[in-house]
Symmetry: C2
Subunit: 145 residues, 2 copies
């Protein structure tokens, strides 16, 4: 895989308490997603947050990484990521954890091979490695029938 | 700000080469965003990637952090983030950099105060801190009239 550059744009209007931002991707995959200080703390329908976007990135990266390890043409992989932002003594707010819940179906795959694939996917996923440098990555993986 | 949990979900079908995934947020802010190995490398219209989502998260976090430092009710802040994924010797692919381009308007704000605010925003933004633990964060900030 060659070097990849990906870009996104944000416009923020106003101060922290009353202002709001809009998040867009030049690709057109999403445009004008609203967020604010209030909705970053208390999730509100149809609004996003940096933490939600990181959860999407980590889940997406891990699912693709696991697909690469399983090599099964008929694999089905479901990943949920839960990203935690919390106050850390003396540092202010930090991303402290990303918790992955993984469920996979892959006809004929043995449990031991699945467990190895999950470990390899975590080692290989650039987002697991990025997050693990500063926070905790936990993975709970289930092989389904 | 209390502890914040934010979640996203991904479903992947198939292997790495031919499969594809869909990325959704329970908030409803985005749903079924498509991505694949091919579109992660070569951006295609209407498809996203983990790197694009991280760029969105970092730009969103930084813009909000800077709004908090500026404290200006009439501030307008535009942030573009460019996230770089590249091969690192002996480690495979890693997130190696996030480059921020920041433009701000804030009536009456002096350049020196703006420069200090940008530095403080970088120190305080949880995504700058997360990324800087494993990769490079660069900021090019301009105060506009």
């Amino acid at each position: 895989m060659p070097r990849v550059d990906r870009r996104a744009e944000v416009s923020w209007n106003g101060n922290l308490a009353r202002g709001e931002g809009r998040i867009s991707a030049p690709s057109g995959a999403f445009a004008g997603l609203p967020y604010s200080a209030a909705t970053r703390v208390a999730a509100r329908a149809e609004t996003t947050s940096p933490e939600e976007l990181l959860a999407a990135a980590h889940a997406g990266c891990f699912a693709m990484s696991l697909a690469g390890e399983l090599r099964e043409a008929e694999a089905r992989i479901d990943v949920t990521a839960n990203v935690v932002l919390d106050e850390v003594d003396g540092q202010g707010h930090r991303i402290v954890e990303s918790q992955l819940e993984v469920r996979a179906r892959a006809p004929g795959l043995e449990q031991a091979a699945f467990d190895e694939a999950v470990e390899a996917a975590d080692r290989g996923c650039p987002f697991s490695r990025l997050i693990a440098a500063a926070a905790k990555v936990t993975i709970n993986a289930t092989l389904e029938d």
